[in-house]
Symmetry: C2
């Protein structure tokens, strides 16, 4: 049972997600393929167990050092590194699997990590999911672009798609590339993370200036209040 999950994890980390099949897992365990169905209803459940097994390695946010911002930044970087080390997690799990116990434990810890910020529970959950979503989304974009693909590489692969890529039709993009911008580069992660945490800091500062110590009772359950919503007029 745990051996099945372990075998599947090793298989995927060495051969990639495409190589994950019940037959391969069974072969690695020296058992018949049909034997796996004694312990698992099907492949989907195996995938769910694999995902929760990965979550078991994640440090608990509320045990990290520093203030809320340090904690959030630290687990965001942990997530980012985890997606780099287990890119198959991004390809798997697209469709509805139940959150496993490790996932729930992590979520519980993340809520605690925002103690003392003056945010309501609903807001804390929203902040956590925002950062989580940001990391996951950026990791997906980065992974899909092939890790670190050069513009020439993009052009070559684009050519395979039918018509060749004519960069003259994209002047702003061309200018950016010529200026040295690298799309989906890895260091872009830190940039966006700082922006997102800056935005959370704005909210928390707003909450703090309107001093009210009670944690929860401010109409919790809703997220609709104006924050700093105005842009910059030219």
């Amino acid at each position: 049972m745990d051996a099945i999950v372990a075998a599947a994890l090793e298989l995927v980390s060495t051969q990639g997600l495409a190589a994950l099949s019940m037959r391969q897992v069974a072969t690695k365990l020296d058992v018949g393929t049909a034997s796996l169905y004694t312990y698992l209803p099907g492949k989907a459940e195996l995938a769910a167990l694999m995902l929760d097994a990965v979550m078991a390695d994640a440090p608990l946010p509320h045990e990290l050092p520093g203030d809320w911002r340090a904690k959030l930044a630290a687990w965001a970087r942990d997530d980012w590194a985890a997606y780099r080390d287990h890119p198959w997690v991004l390809e798997l799990a697209a469709v509805g699997a139940a959150p496993g116990p490790h996932m729930l434990r992590w979520l519980d810890s993340a809520i605690q990590a925002l103690d003392g910020t003056g945010l309501s529970d609903t807001e804390r959950l929203a902040v956590i999911e925002s950062v989580d979503g940001y990391v996951r989304g950026l990791a997906t974009l980065h992974h899909r672009s092939g890790g670190d693909a050069s513009p020439a590489e993009v052009e070559r692969r684009g050519a395979a798609l039918g018509e060749l890529v004519d960069f003259d039709r994209y002047p702003a993009l061309q200018r950016a590339l010529r200026a040295g911008a690298k799309p989906y580069a890895a260091d872009q992660f830190e940039f966006g993370l700082e922006r997102l945490l800056d935005g959370v800091a704005v909210l928390i500062r707003g909450r703090r200036s309107g001093r009210r110590q009670r944690n929860d009772a401010d109409g919790s359950g809703t997220l609709r209040e104006r924050g700093t919503t105005s842009g910059d007029p030219p």
Copy 2:
């Protein structure tokens, strides 16, 4: 050729991504399965064409009304709605496909949408990818959680995974749920978007106060400068 992509799109939008197979597409077109390979090297290229076809419907960011923030918010909401209407996009495209012409055109337009912000091209690209990543990641989380799953639903599906979920072991999470917080609710999207845009606004305000009009020459190609990096000490 375009008919193949159209048939595949209709198939997926009515039957779901799991029903997408070369045989089904061929059947819908009343041709033999092997005929498809006259026009496409394989299923992966069909998927790439499907993705770029969806991008063709996206409005161009730089043509949207308002200042940079209004433009960014508008296309973020467009993206969010597109992922809701075409959830298969999230499940597809995990692995390396080349960006199609519509994707490049959109990217070019998004860079233009940040004209007049004082940001370098590298920074603009980073902002765009941050917002893009945020939307995509949150849409994935929302989609994976089953759209809008109640805690009871989570508990039921968790039970199917092996051991039943004991919420007493997750006190902070339990408290949040009791207070009315709904994990992965749809309105959480707006909350995180405002935070992210607030963070971008902080950066832009900083750039503006250090007035320098030249757009590009400030050592472009690097993203490493301190923004507003300090948290709030308790």
